[in-house]
């Protein structure tokens, strides 16, 4: 095979400068262009072995505007947010937050791999907390399994029973009142965020 024949591993034809620009507008983004592609992040990342692209490649793909590959990859969902890369990066790039921003965008555009439990779990977690102010561990895992791969659930059943017997997996988990309309109401805060985001999007 002609090694120099030009074979695109990534769909690099679809470069989207608007996407690159948009990502740099996030909380962490302004210094993204300083990346020198040294690979320290990938070297320190405990999960890079399992990723389709390591964090270094992700940074260069974001910069290039390689939107499709970046939003559809598994890598971002394998980031455990351990911040190892971020504290080691010589250019102080907040790689963990880059990963977060990509996850947000992938979910927003419905691009995350459908059968992967993590993105489904993230969204369910968000919904649960929005409704009751606090997480509900049992419900979170159950609904994620139902929506992705119930075989994982079979593997977890014995553990679940053991945890319940130890009082570590309550069916009724404490919550707070959301939507009271009073001072401190979480719903009011979330509604205000929606408004802020609408303004941002139209700006």
């Amino acid at each position: 095979m002609d090694k120099w024949g030009g074979q695109l591993a990534l769909e690099q034809m679809e470069l989207d400068p608007v996407f690159a620009e948009r990502m740099t507008r996030k909380a962490w983004g302004e210094n993204l262009r300083r990346c020198i592609q040294c690979g320290t992040c990938t070297g320190t990342c405990p999960l890079s072995e399992y990723m389709d692209y390591g964090p270094r490649k992700i940074i260069s793909m974001v910069r290039a505007g390689n939107k499709k590959d970046v939003l559809e990859c598994k890598t971002i969902w394998l980031c455990a947010s351990c911040y190892e890369c971020a504290v080691e990066c010589p250019k102080e790039i907040k790689i963990t937050d880059v990963m977060y921003a990509l996850k947000q965008q992938a979910l927003l555009e419905g691009k995350s791999p459908k059968k992967l439990p993590v993105p489904v779990l993230d969204r369910e977690f968000f919904n649960i907390v929005k409704k009751r102010g606090r997480n509900h561990e049992m419900w979170l895992i159950a609904i994620t399994i139902l929506k992705t791969n119930w075989l994982i659930g079979l593997g977890l059943a014995t553990m679940g029973i053991k945890l319940m017997a130890q009082g570590r997996l309550p069916i009724f988990d404490e919550a707070i009142k959301v939507g009271t309309g009073k001072k401190g109401d979480l719903k009011k805060i979330m509604d205000a965020c929606d408004e802020i985001e609408r303004e941002e999007a139209s700006a």
């Binding site: 999960l47 394998l78 351990c82 977890l156 001072k183 965020c193």
Partner: protein, 291 residues
């Protein structure tokens, strides 16, 4: 100055033993904890993956609530034992105070619920409080039942020590080592103090389980009788998947994984039943307790 307890969502569930032992240890140290009223989830790692502005506002609501509930305190120290809570609250505090754009958004969102954050909250982890407020000398003095002969691998995980915390070293933290040493335990050297436990990946992926295999094996190789943890998710990951790890990898041991506050509690003479020892899959054998 006031210590205000932020238990976090896992305190009522998988991390119950952490909650129980933290509360008991603070009691034994005469620094009783009062729980923040009406607190909400810190957002952990999942919320930030969905929505940035909401994740910040969610965490910041807790800080604003603390100030609202204790208007006469000049300094409120929010005690967050869970790693994810600690990081989530600390990150929200940093951005509210220092980032003009995000800070402005957070303040505006809080204001919609008639709340305001003035910057009177410090976010503290118990490791920090035990070493820097209480002091190792006092801890040593109070250890009526020292953990002699117990070999401990101290496991800090990720988010307690980086990237925002300042009380310990990000890659070679020592606070837990010092605390448990003051409690009479022997601390083993091992290379995985802050290596990742897989976080939310462990229950759903093989990669996550492999990370835990590495941690368990290294702790065992170092001669540890128990791994001491400071995070409910680390504890859960390390403890609850051992059968699956034994089935797949060359590892045949049962490694006890306890909260360091449970071990502290035992050394401080607190009754086992109050420390949630029965909530562990494999309770550690404490030489000074079993004789």
């Amino acid at each position: 100055m006031k210590y205000l307890y932020y238990p976090g969502c896992s305190a009522g569930g998988t991390g119950k033993a952490y909650d129980e032992s933290v509360v008991e240890v603070f009691k034994a140290l005469d620094s009783g904890l009062v729980e923040l009223d009406d607190w909400n989830c810190c957002g952990a790692t999942a919320y930030m993956a969905v929505d940035e502005a909401k994740a910040f506002a969610l965490a910041a609501r807790n800080l604003a609530l603390a100030e609202d509930q204790y208007p006469d305190e000049d300094e409120i120290h929010i005690v967050a034992p869970c790693s994810a809570c600690y990081l989530g609250l600390l990150k929200a505090k940093r951005y509210t105070e220092a980032d003009p754009k995000i800070g402005g958004q957070i303040r505006r969102a809080l204001k919609a619920a008639d709340l305001e954050y003035k910057g009177k909250c410090e976010v503290r982890n118990p490791l920090d409080i035990f070493v820097n407020d209480i002091g190792l000398d006092k801890l040593k003095e109070l250890a009526v039942r020292p953990l002699e002969g117990l070999k401990v691998a101290c496991y800090y995980g990720c988010q307690i020590v980086r990237p925002y915390s300042e009380f310990d070293e990000p890659s070679n933290p020592v606070t837990m080592d010092k605390i448990l040493k003051a409690m009479g335990a022997e601390i083993v050297e091992w290379p995985c103090k802050t290596r990742c436990c897989g976080g939310m990946l462990t229950w759903s992926t093989g990669a996550g389980k492999e990370l835990n295999y590495i941690l368990l094996k290294e702790a065992w190789k170092a001669g540890a009788d128990v791994i001491a943890t400071a995070c409910p998710l680390c504890q859960f990951n390390l403890e609850c998947f051992q059968d699956k790890i034994r089935a797949k990898y060359d590892f045949n041991e049962e490694m006890p994984v306890a909260y360091y506050t449970q071990l502290m509690g035992l050394a401080l003479g607190i009754d086992e039943s109050k420390l949630g020892m029965k909530r562990l899959f494999v309770p550690p054998k404490i030489p000074t307790l079993t004789g």
